[in-house]
């Protein structure tokens, strides 16, 4: 674990405090369900420098809402996101832009996260252009080198690359401004198992070399556990479990965590055949087994 707590250095890179996000359900959904969706209920956690926090959860667990709120793509109903001890939503102008440089993102689908009409050179130059910094092809080549892509990639378009290579380009773009934190939204779930392993290895190497922190979100506990020092499990908009990876895996507290663990396929026919067949959720799914949101139904 790399948990440096020097007096000179801020102990926390990112601190999320009691984050709440409610939104009104679409009218069609209101007939069957509640009118207010509690996408996030009082979620809190923090990430230190050069650390990886993994977040697992199924679709609808609120993990995407959490990411989008941290990235500033949507506003929280309540609670705060403190990045480098500053609240980005309170900042304007130059200081907001300075903070923006320290945070970048890699999305799940490498087929849509790169603009199909831009060359790789343009894609890698864009962060610097937006922030009015010098753009050089030497910088772009260095980035490509770090993600192990050949220099000839610069003049090519995204569609000329495989899914794994595109994800490398997206990672290179995320590294362009030397950020302190990279948010990774299901970065390997669209890829083949073998390519997943390569990307995870690359991410770990980059973390070693550049002391960057990751917030790594995925639905596959095996993938998250492979890269994270700490793991948070989200279910129904709440962080139902948060702790060191070893501890969460060895001693899962929440039934959903246990189901996640059981669902990971083991490459051993004897173990797999001995598993009970899971045709459906093994425990009550109603939200009433979660504590109610402290913010009620405010929007």
């Amino acid at each position: 674990m790399t948990n440096q707590t020097h007096a000179s250095e801020p102990p926390e890179l990112l601190r999320v405090r009691d984050l709440v996000k409610h939104y009104r359900a679409p009218r069609a959904a209101q007939r069957h369900g509640p009118p207010i969706v509690h996408a996030l209920c009082s979620v809190s956690f923090s990430i230190g420098p050069a650390q990886t926090l993994g977040i697992v959860g199924e679709s609808g667990s609120g993990k995407t809402t959490l990411l989008r709120t941290i990235l500033g793509l949507q506003k929280p109903t309540a609670g705060r996101v403190l990045f480098l001890a500053k609240d980005a939503s309170q900042l304007k102008g130059a200081s907001a832009r300075a903070l923006q440089r320290e945070l970048s993102v890699v999305f799940q689908d490498p087929y849509t996260s790169l603009d199909p009409r831009m060359t790789v050179a343009d894609i890698l130059a864009e962060p610097a252009q937006i922030h009015g910094l010098a753009v050089s092809s030497r910088k772009a080549l260095a980035l490509l080198d770090q993600v192990r892509l050949p220099a000839t990639s610069l003049r090519r378009f995204p569609h000329e690359f495989s899914g794994g290579q595109r994800q490398r380009i997206a990672i290179a773009r995320a590294l362009a401004l030397d950020p302190k934190l990279i948010v990774l939204d299901e970065p390997v779930s669209a890829l083949d198992v073998s390519v997943q392993a390569e990307i995870l290895k690359l991410l770990k190497e980059l973390q070693q070399a550049r002391q960057v922190s990751y917030l790594f979100v995925a639905h596959d506990l095996a993938v998250v556990a492979d890269i994270s020092q700490r793991v948070g499990v989200m279910y129904g908009g709440q962080m139902v479990e948060l702790g060191a990876t070893e501890q969460v895996i060895a001693d899962p507290q929440h039934p959903y965590t246990r189901e996640l663990l059981a669902a990971v396929p083991v490459p051993d026919p004897r173990i797999e055949r001995a598993k009970p067949r899971m045709l459906q959720r093994q425990w009550p799914t109603e939200t009433d087994n979660l504590p109610p949101c402290p913010h009620g139904d405010t929007l």
Binding site: D115, E126, A250, E259, A263, V266, D268, R270
Partner: protein, 565 residues
Amino acid sequence: MAVTVRRFLRHKVGMVALGVLLIVILAAIIVPPLWPYDYTDITPQLSQAPSVQHPMGTDTLGRDLFALVLRGMQQSLLIAFSVTIIACIIGVVLGVTAGYFGSFIDATVMRAVDLVLTLPTLALAAFLGSLVTGRGVSWLGLAMVLGSLMWTSVARLVRGVVLSLRELAFVDAARVMGASPTRIMFRHLVPNVSDHIVVAGTLMFGVAILAESSLSFLGFGVQPPDTSLGLLVANAQSAVLTRPWLFYFPGLLIITIVLSVNYVGEGLRDAFNPKSSPTNPLATTRRRSRNRKPQMRDAANHAVLKVTDLSVRFGPLEAVNSISLEIQPGEVVALVGESGSGKSLTGLSLVGLLPSSAVGTGSVVFAGEELSGLAFEQWRKYRGRRIAMILQDPSTTLNPVLTVGAQFEDSMKLDSGGVSRAEARRRAVELMESVAIKDAEARLDQYPHQLSGGMRQRIAIALAMVHDPDLIIADEPTTALDVTVQAHVMATLAVARERTGAAMLFITHDLALVAGIADRVAVMHQGVIVEESDVFSIFDNPQADYTKRLLSLAPRITGKAVEKP
């Protein structure tokens, strides 16, 4: 881009139309200075029929019609071009703004579009045109009036495309980087709509020529002594019988220009969008082998499926290279490989659904009957009935406009004809409950989009059980799903297999996933089966290096991940 150009070059009608259009435009630019007569010159030869001196004849004032037509073309093309540019600029700016910002701005722009669409364009253009100057209008004024009335189609098109583009991750990525809305709109969104704009602009060019002609014909467009194609036609209308050449030449030119512009537009649309070309993926199979009788073969061999020397080629590229595979009744065989290994093509060729650009050879014997080379109609006996297919994306298997219940009914009517609705629903509920789908009765009245991805896939599996198939082909059935839902779908497949007694071909990229379900595993790499053996040997004692590599890469929760340094 290069692909688009190449595809356009292959579009014969589009290329001919482009040639015609270029000749017309060049003629309008190059010929006038070289031609002995100017369109204002009045010669003593009044109302002459076409001759060597005046190839299109002369009008009642003695002007050379060819010179007039050239001038008319210049004016018409110039106006149409300006109209298109103006309308596209207005349409793109308003469309992209409305699409990107949405809400209030979108509503305002769309109401403006509605408003403009309710106005009678020509009448308003005529009215505005006469307002701009006291008497008639300059070509620029006319272009501005028409352009400001014709932007609506472009705006609606651009808005529609932007609405779907802005949901894509690259737009979010740019926002996270701190890009301004202007940058996102004009650096990311507009370039991605440009193909649509080019096509719409081309088609609008044709409409603009017609609009200008109509206005000039009505007397509200270009004013004499200047002229345009529409004005020439208008002037000739009183002389259609006595001096028909005055009418035919400009009229024919209008038709030629508009037709060729439209065909160029059509060619561009096809070139930009490969999906619009009407190619039936089944066409080649159908052509190659009409009405061959399924041959009985190997009646003694009890294999459900016997594939021998199956190859699939795309031109020179060998995607599947002479593979052989056998599946016994009730057996589950897993075909494991990465993208590009040829595993999905193998699955598709078993049911005769190869893309039209692929050529499949080899023999596929299903329950003793040779399937390769069957005609389209004959396939229907097997597909969906004796061979069921579960695809990666269940939303492509289920019909989005039918309720789940209706799809069960449809499927049941296929064979037994006289199934009553109540009986169909009862069986559907029974099938769904057998795979532990909760509230099966309520699901019957839902549409696929109201269900989660995992539920859709499980219903697709229940649907596949209707006909008690002999073989289930499952192609990456869990790839887009959460891990826990993946476990549910795998369990559903196992139940379906047990209940129907079907054999199964399970295609996936994840070796670990098949440990629980497969009896035998075939590992595929670059079009070749590199290893095939029973499930225990594959995991305990893999032979091929590629299999070992796949095994070492499988993410596992016990073992290495936890024992991190």
